[in-house]
Amino acid sequence: MVTVLYFAALRERLGRASDWIDLEKPLPAGDLLARLRAADPVVEAAFSVPGTIRVAVGQRLADEATIVNPGDEVAFFPPMTGG
């Protein structure tokens, strides 16, 4: 099981803040996103909007090649705009 979190514009477009997805073996974050998009047209639509998407794995900034392990928390979000 992997917890998937969405933030900001991405969360709004999806209409929800999180998903849970079954995961038996490690997978790159990019492949995980491809599975999410394929499984749900709402996710597919939300991620089809042009614009940079960042990913965090285990609450650390990551990229599409970063390995996601069962039990990890994964988050997708637009570029950060703090300060």
Binding site: L5, A9, Q59, T81
Partner: protein, 153 residues
Amino acid sequence: MASVRILVSDTDFDTGQEISDLLQRSGEGAGGLGAFVGVVRGGSGLQSLTLEHYPGMTERILEGLVLEAVGRFSLSGCTVIHRVGCMNVGERIVLVLTASAHRAEALDAVRFLIDRLKTGAPFWKKEHYEDGAGSWVDAREADDWAAARWDTA
């Protein structure tokens, strides 16, 4: 050891109290305190701002940034407070305080922290206008550049 305080808060902070506290915590070796206070800037009909964040990751990233600043700029103390939730024009969003023996280190550390906070910590701003419209703030390229220049410094 440097004294560090990190807070993510949905209520306003007391700038004067935070400055006094940091000077107290930093001890007699502190000769200067640098500060930045970010405020919701008005204009173009902007009424308020909502700040969303990633609970857990935010604190982790802020702690990493602050510890990096402490080591890099020989700080004797550092405070970072970032507000989340809804704020009106004129309200404070963020406070960065640094204490150091010398003014150059204190002020460089403030600049480093605020540059990094803009693009390196999981906060997102949504603007709300008087006409009811709302829109997420785009990351500015200038901010990415400001954060990146510290990587090679």
